[in-house]
């Protein structure tokens, strides 16, 4: 039924997806700036973070408006989940900004001769983010559940890169400052994967009405629910 409230929910969904697209672009560009030593692009990413922040504010406003209409059941879950997803996306934007800041600093110094698989890690984190938002759009909690274990792979890669960087710093103390910048960028990618996992957990709650945060069994639905 196309009523006024449904139109408000649609506007919320659309705004969230537009915000997600900005967040995704910010991560991609920050990584590009890092890998290609693109100082200007790094500055642009930092500048554009304001756009993502503004989306968070607008989504909160919309959520408050919708909550005054006292939504219930799946509508209530959608409104509260949208608020949490937007918060996670805002933090993804912040992480992209952090990467951009490190990219800006690193672009001003000689490159460190290291073969770090940051693009692979970025690809994994971004794929998780994209999949979690696809699960949101496609109302697919099973796909959302499948995303969650992938966070462990990103964590492992982060640890591996940290070890490489730590060894390099011991062997080449003159590169400590630059290696620390790489380490921070790497940690930001790991955090982006965490946020993607959070979004996936919210998608499961939205469509299965089951809170799987901080629980061991994240892969199986408890029982069929009306939900969606």
């Amino acid at each position: 039924m196309d009523n006024h409230f449904e139109m408000g929910l649609d506007a919320l969904r659309q705004k969230l997806l537009t915000m997600a697209s900005h967040a995704e672009t910010a991560v991609n560009q920050s990584l590009q700036a890092l890998v290609q030593r693109d100082h200007d692009l790094a500055l642009r990413v930092k500048e554009n973070d304001r756009v993502i922040d503004q989306f968070e504010v607008e989504i909160d406003d919309l959520v408050i408006q919708l909550l005054t209409k006292a939504p219930l059941a799946s509508n209530l879950r959608l409104v509260t989940v949208a608020m949490k997803i937007s918060q996670n996306l805002e933090r993804v934007g912040d992480e992209a900004s952090k990467i951009a800041k490190r990219a800006r600093d690193l672009s001003q110094e000689p490159p460190v001769k290291l073969n770090l698989d940051l693009p692979l890690m970025a690809g994994m984190a971004l794929a998780m983010l994209k999949s979690s938002l696809d699960a949101f759009v496609n109302k697919d909690p099973i796909a959302a559940r499948a995303i969650i274990p992938r966070d462990k792979e990103v964590d492992a890669l982060n640890k591996q890169i940290h070890e490489i960087l730590a060894q390099h710093m011991v062997a080449h103390p003159d590169t400590i400052g630059r290696c620390l910048n790489w380490m921070v960028a790497c940690k930001s990618l790991e955090r982006i994967a965490d946020h993607a996992k959070n979004v996936a957990e919210e998608v499961v709650y939205l469509y299965e009405a089951q809170d799987i945060r901080h629980t061991a069994n994240k892969s199986q639905p408890a029982s069929p629910e009306a939900g969606a």
């Binding site: 039924m1 009523n3 059941a73 799946s74 209530l76 879950r77 009405a209 629910e225 009306a226």
Partner: protein, 259 residues
Amino acid sequence: MATEPNNPTAALTVRGLTVFFGDRAAVKNVSIDITAKAVTAIIGPSGCGKSTFLRALNRMHELNPDARMEGQIHLFGDDIYSRTVESVTVRRRIGMVFQKSNPFPTMSIFENVTVGLRLNGLRDRKILAERTEESLHMAALWDEVKDRLNAPAVSLSGGQQQRLCIARALAVQPEVLLMDEPASALDPLATAKIEDLIVALKKDYTIVIVTHNMQQAARASDFTAFFYLGELVEFGPTTKIFTSPAQKRTEDYVTGRFG
């Protein structure tokens, strides 16, 4: 809807309740346990049988000559439809407050509160006065009317009249209080007072409230039952019903997709 028999926390145990008006079943094979000293809300679209169900809980439907029921209802183990039990006795134990406040217009505030007691033969002025004060306190009306107990009941505002009706129902010391949309004719402030009162009263009473206002059910009740086309579709803790109902029909109703 499956419910555990002999539930020790249940004030009312309803099994296989069907209520007919002529040939038409307005309530169909409902089984439910109403938890003691808790608020149970009955929700559902108009004509779903929720008011009929409520009225069957204290045999009020018997006032309609076309009505008949099948099934069993026990109040703390006592069969309220037993041939040896009179409906008046049942209604003393299970009181009712209606949608529209209905104080007796020719009676004072005091007389309205005590009318049930006097009908039961109580004449002692001191006890009547004590019971009036106690009931008006419980109905959160005492402070507003204590200096004008002999004023006509109809001189009170709509919200006050409704609380007076609640005081009147409480005066006979029932075990269960049934409320049929008790706040639907009141403004938000008077509604809030009734809701606060409902929550306060559950300390001592079992309350069943029929409401069209789902936010009211969400605010004031512990359990919610959703009726549709005479059937009990879903029953459970209010939080569960309003955040993650198990049945699609409940979901569709509470999200405004039908009804």
